[in-house]
């Protein structure tokens, strides 16, 4: 059986809408990060040169997903890095701890301003988890 893709782009007039899938919630969060960086650069990830610790909080799993993506955007922009390795250490309804690995970014293809709460969904189904998130570009 062919598994559906981990992420895909949806139509949205002015911004970037993504559909993310994951067998588990941590995998969903990892795929969301991969999806976002896939939009930002075609750069092939080399050997990771840096590791960064990430901790974000939220009031529910949806806000946690937005906080996770936005923390990665913050790090990417301020450190001038892109990330390709994501390890989730703990994920509850209100807190996520992770380590991300990556390296210096070359010129980015796309500047993402932020992940938004618009049309934000995180749902569990028989095949695993699915999320939609709109990124402001």
């Amino acid at each position: 059986m062919v598994r559906p893709p981990a992420f895909e782009e949806l139509d949205h007039t002015a911004d970037l809408a993504l559909l993310i899938r994951g067998a588990t919630l941590p995998e969903l969060f990892v795929n969301a990060a991969r999806a976002m960086f896939a939009q930002m650069t075609d750069q092939e990830p080399g050997q990771p040169a840096v590791k960064r610790r990430v901790r974000v909080t939220g009031i529910d799993v949806e806000s946690l997903l937005v906080a996770w993506l936005n923390e990665l955007l913050f790090l990417s922009e301020t450190k001038r890095e892109v990330y390709s390795g994501f390890q989730i250490h703990s994920l509850s309804a209100r807190e996520l701890r992770a380590t991300v690995k990556g390296g210096p970014s070359a010129e980015l293809d796309l500047l993402i301003k932020s992940a938004t709460f618009h049309n934000l969904t995180v749902e569990a189904g028989p095949e695993g988890f699915q999320a939609t998130v709109v990124l402001d570009v």
């Binding site: 782009e9 949806l10 139509d11 949205h12 007039t13 002015a14 911004d15 970037l16 809408a17 939220g58 009031i59 949806e62 806000s63 937005v66 906080a67 936005n70 913050f74 922009e77 301020t78 001038r80 970014s105 070359a106 010129e107 980015l108 293809d109 796309l110 500047l111 301003k113 932020s114 992940a115 938004t116 709460f117 618009h118 049309n119 934000l120 709109v134 402001d136 570009v137």
Partner: protein
Amino acid sequence: MVTMSTFRRVDECVWEIPREHQADMRVPARIFASEPLLEAALGDKSVEQLINTACLPGVVRYALAMPDIHQGYGPPIGGVVAMSLKDGVLSPGAVGYDINCGVRLVRSSLAADQVRPLMADLVDAIYSRVPSGVGRGGDISLSRKEMDDLLERGSAWAVARGYGTQEDLQHTEENGQMEAARPSAVSRKAKERGTDQLGTLGAGNHFIELGEVKEVYDADVAGAFGLFPGQLVVWVHSGSRGLGHQVCDDYVQSLQSAVQKYSIKLPDRELVCAPFYSDEGQQYLAAMAGAANFAWANRQVLMVRVQRVLRELLAPRFGRFDLALVYDIAHNIAKVEEHVVDGKPMRVVVHRKGATRSLGPGRPELPEAYRAAGQPVLVPGDMGTGSYVLVGTSAAADKSFSSTCHGAGRVMSRHAVKRQVRGEDVQRSLELKGIFVRGPWKGLAEEAPDAYKDIDSVVDVVDRAGLARRVARVVPMGVIKG
């Protein structure tokens, strides 16, 4: 589901959805549009988003949308919504992530024909000398103290450091400085993001454009603005960069718990808000104003950078020439203004997200040179078609909380347009029309002219609706994108 029959046509270009359409609407929703533009608006979720803004606490008179309406997140792009201060809310989503994204127009004393043969060189020089700031910083790095100072003072900070003149401040909305700004309300993360972004263009629909005044519709007002047919002019379109994005993100996150605290029911989480006079509301206002000031300082520095490049390349050939700021406007912002509600003056907070302030003649907010004419309204179009200069009207005060459109408005998603065009082809087809474009290929594809509505029809609506009047049309000669 909204269809054409949901609307009541109240005027030639004004369509209303009555409050009774949906139980939680507090006021009617109105769209300024022609019939074709209204039908186009029904092609995405923008009208539903407009209806959602009519549900916000304290909203007064109408939730409005301009003819360049398209789907955003929270309110539609092109949305204008005003809340009473007493029982209304402030919503970061109704301002947007690019706080004070806006545009400025610079006039020159040169004719476009004089510089046309040099356009490729001019565009290349600006592209290489004005940093986009995408993936790397600019060349101005701010200390913490400088950042705090800049967040308070906006354009004045830049002028004090040799970027431009006092006259530039008078020709900027709010004189380039919102007094509500407090650096302490802007997070450490936002300041860190903005540290080396001053004087950078950004990406997406940000651009610098060299254009020609192709047509003048009102010679008197054009003269007051210093515009003449065949003139070389320069547009700079940019915003508050990562600092503004972070401010919006910070407050959209932190206000998620405020809506529970204040028992506010939201149709869309991106419309998260807090009562205007709450601590949370006042903190956001102070941070938003700081980010707005950063954007004004940014456009001030960008403009001066472009001016320096043009002088350096053109002065040897043409000698001394004028390059002066016509005006600078914001189109993502929230401002406390006085408007008439139920026949009485009332202070309200007007949220404009993809909409421009439009003040008529006689307003004290305007510099003396423009007081008789009205406020310049700057409406950039897409790369291939052109832009407009309009003038504000007194009528806009009652019709739209002194607001008008901001641009052409998108019709096609970035995803869809990238499937149809390639950046290289966009560049080539524009060059065939005599328009030189420099920018990253993917960005050029996403900003292809086909992705945008027809600016002529958008401007036609605001002119017929009395929100702003046509003064001049400008066509692009050279475009630089981040």
